[in-house]
């Protein structure tokens, strides 16, 4: 069954993802930490699907699709940002205008 340990593991992984987002200045690494958080949420869905049926697996599908779309668009934004500023350091990117 392993419901409690799975939820605990996903809590740890989610917190590590949050720590990474706060800790790093490299936009790509921040992006990878967001993927880590999405993975932690997927783990809760899979763990609870053991009790509540296959809907949890369907939600994991949708989360994965959104994560893939987000990675494509986000990395394109980072690429455009790098062309503009020659850097992906988040400390240099503090203005909403171009």
């Amino acid at each position: 069954m392993l419901l409690g340990p799975s939820l605990g593991l996903s809590a740890i992984l989610f917190s590590l993802g949050v720590a990474g987002v706060l800790l790093r200045r490299n936009a790509i690494v921040v992006f990878m930490c967001i993927e880590l958080m999405l993975n932690a949420v997927n783990l809760t869905f899979v763990a609870l699907a053991q009790l509540y049926g296959a809907s949890g697996y369907i939600m994991v599908f949708f989360v994965m699709t959104v994560a893939a779309a987000e990675a494509a668009v986000g990395l394109a934004i980072i690429l455009a940002m790098f062309r503009h500023r020659q850097s992906v350091d988040l400390q240099n990117i503090n203005l909403l205008r171009g």
Binding site: M1, G8, L23, R25, V46, Q50, T65, V73
Partner: protein, 185 residues
């Protein structure tokens, strides 16, 4: 046996995730994230979600992480200096992430409501699959139709409209990525 394997892969996932957020080189960080995703795929297998595990390896560890590595190598980032923020931010991060972990970690002792009621009345857990009929039905479906069929049936019946909306989302993402990454001519 399953519990021992679970703890092994859980430790591997936490270790690789910690190294992922602490590695200075973005390529090493990406590879540690791939290791985390493989450990999670193994945990999905232990939780009876074999199809999700296969998709995890193919889509996440395969496609998404290749995209990340491709962009890291395309940008050819300099990682001589560490990109970890200063001491005050580190302290704030430890406090925030620690508080969040403490709150979320309460889920460890989470007992579903129906199970809690049963425990209060009968004193013992009894038959869990009788309490959670949906989970038991899903397991029977997986035995009858195979793990792929058990996921495909609800995906193309009850969740057909969200599934189609997802395809539109992917189309929008493709067009958006091309427009954003295109060089201005």
């Amino acid at each position: 046996m399953i519990a021992a394997l679970f703890w092994f892969f859980a430790a591997a996932a936490v270790l690789s995730a910690s190294l992922c957020i602490l590695q200075r080189n973005p390529v090493s960080a990406a590879l540690w994230l791939v290791s985390t995703m493989f450990s999670l795929a193994a945990i999905y297998v232990l939780l009876d979600a074999q199809f999700i595990a296969a998709i995890q390896v193919l889509v996440y560890a395969g496609a998404v992480m290749v995209l990340f590595l491709f962009v890291i190598m395309l940008l050819n980032l300099d990682h001589a200096t560490s990109d970890i923020r200063g001491p005050s931010t580190i302290a704030a991060t430890v406090v925030i992430a620690g508080l969040l972990a403490g709150e979320l970690f309460a889920l460890w002792s989470y007992t579903p409501h129906r199970l809690a009621v049963e425990l209060a009345q009968a004193g013992s857990a009894g038959d869990v699959s009788a309490l959670f009929a949906a989970g038991a039905i899903a397991r029977q479906e997986a035995q009858a139709k195979g793990v792929v069929g058990a996921v495909a049936a609800p995906l193309f019946q009850a969740y057909l409209v969200p599934f189609e909306i997802t395809s539109i989302l992917l189309l929008v993402a493709i067009i958006g990525a091309v427009v954003l990454a295109k060089r201005k001519v």
